[in-house]
């Protein structure tokens, strides 16, 4: 329909469109002169087509970000596939050095200060500008940073309900992994070096230094990652169980007791010590956490264990 039109967009016009597009993505709010951009759009109806094509080009690049980024690292460093990340690391180091310099020399270059949300005993819903939302679990902390609220960091637990937008590259860091390529609804639980990601709808990609390659997770699957133990296990999850903590329910399928204890502390507010020999014992089942002590007693009974110690310092013991 507009084929002729588009094939013949003049070079100079395309160069202008490219500049406008780059400026429209600049993290500084005042980088883009929207009035001048409006004038430019009004000057020639082809201008908006040229701009659209730049935006679609950016989408295409972002769509292949993973393949292109990885291919790139391999080219730079052909020693072995494992060492392919070398190139990225180099840049990473430079980036840190540069941002340290920026704090001293030119603080105005930095993106807006990150927003930090932290919960105490209750959970809290956070609405993001693009319509996405995050339900932050008790005793958890979420940092939102970046030019398009596209860098998040979670400590503790949260259910993410993310509106898919191919134009941005949202990344959520949790423990030793980062979650990207995100569409729709999933739950993240992080404690120290252990991270669980469960997908209710859509899909995500999880990557990390300790992972040889990124792991794609689709709806109905979950990843349990433990950097210390060096394990990354992908297993099916029931969509209904994803983020069930918000209804006072914790469901497990073959989960180590250490992890269950972590959850009890966060969601039931009850501290329980799990001695080393019991830490990797597995639990499958559902705990109701509206009354912390009761959930703990249920666990003990289901696992055929004994509860030692006293309130505030419970301890799981072999029967």
């Amino acid at each position: 329909m507009n084929r002729d039109n588009e094939a013949e967009l003049p070079e100079a016009m395309l160069a202008e469109a490219a500049s406008w597009h780059v400026r429209s993505e600049d993290e500084r709010p005042d980088a883009m002169d929207w009035d001048a951009f409006t004038d430019w759009l009004e000057a020639d109806p082809r201008h908006r087509h040229a701009f659209d094509q730049m935006a679609l080009t950016a989408d295409a690049i972002d769509r292949h970000k993973t393949e292109l980024g990885v291919a790139d690292a391999d080219e730079d460093d052909d020693v072995s596939p494992q060492r392919g990340r070398g190139a990225l690391w180099r840049w990473g180091g430079l980036a840190i050095a540069a941002s340290l310099a920026a704090i001293v020399a030119a603080p105005q270059f930095l993106v807006p200060a990150p927003a930090v949300y932290a919960t105490q005993a209750g959970s809290s819903r956070i609405a993001l500008a693009d319509g996405s939302s995050v339900l932050l679990a008790p005793h958890s902390r979420l940092t939102v940073a970046g030019r398009a609220q596209d860098h998040m960091d979670i400590t503790g637990g949260a259910i993410f309900d993310i509106r898919h937008d191919p134009s941005r590259t949202l990344t959520i860091s949790a423990g030793g992994v980062s979650i990207s390529d995100i569409g729709t609804r999933f739950d993240v639980q992080q404690q120290d070096e252990a991270v669980r990601v469960s997908i209710a709808e859509g899909r995500v990609r999880v990557s990390g230094q300790a992972l040889a390659q990124p792991i794609a997770l689709a709806a109905g699957s979950g990843l349990t990652f433990d950097a210390n133990a060096g394990t990354a296990i992908v297993a099916p999850v029931k969509a209904a169980d994803v983020g069930a903590w918000q209804d006072g329910r914790l469901s497990y399928d073959n989960a180590p007791l250490a992890l269950v204890a972590t959850d009890l502390r966060r969601y039931a507010g009850v501290r329980v010590n799990v001695p080393a020999p019991l830490r990797s014992r597995r639990f499958s089942g559902t705990l109701i956490v509206d009354d912390g002590e009761k959930a703990l007693r249920d666990l003990v009974q289901l696992m055929d264990l004994r509860l030692g110690g006293h309130a505030g310092a419970w301890r799981l013991e072999q029967r």
Partner: protein
Amino acid sequence: MIAAGKRMEPGEDRTPASGLGGMLEVHRAELLRFLCGRCGSMDEAQDVMQDLWIKVSGASTGPIGNPRAYLFRMANNIVLDRLRASRRAMRRERVWIEADGDGVALAPELRIDPAEPADEALSRRQEAEILQQAIARLPEGAAKALRMYRFEGMAQGEIAQILGISRSGVEKHLAVAMKHLRAVLANCGSFAAVPSHDHGADGGATPRMEQGR
């Protein structure tokens, strides 16, 4: 009546708008003019305004440094979302028509994964290869800036620091890269299959002039 009038200001009787919503009212005319240029039709501009209004009134945001720029950016993003949606719809329609030709008509919604049938996965791979080769041919500075910006998620200011060049230098590098890559995608027909996102009549670019004479 008179006693109460002393502190009345125009518009005071309106519901107090929340911060961003209030700013939307303040800048409505400029935003609409921008959207009209951006969409090429007043009708669509008004649709987008409506979407923007809904978004703004539904969002609880933190403090925003430059609300005017923020609103323009939001508006521009809505236009891009619509463009993407119309391209997706066109692609699905095309796939559907092709499938129909084989006598195996299957509505796109009934596919197991309507987002990406096998043939699209193939063209996805081709697209990735084309881009990869094109990036390899970019001038060095442009390729570096593009990688840092698009693959490593660095801010333009950071890239300027690392490459030791000015921000406008970074901008030029990125623009060169984008222009090259657009040309490559255009050459293999990436933009051809889909018309512009005009609604209705062509020539919507001059919406106020129809039948005026």
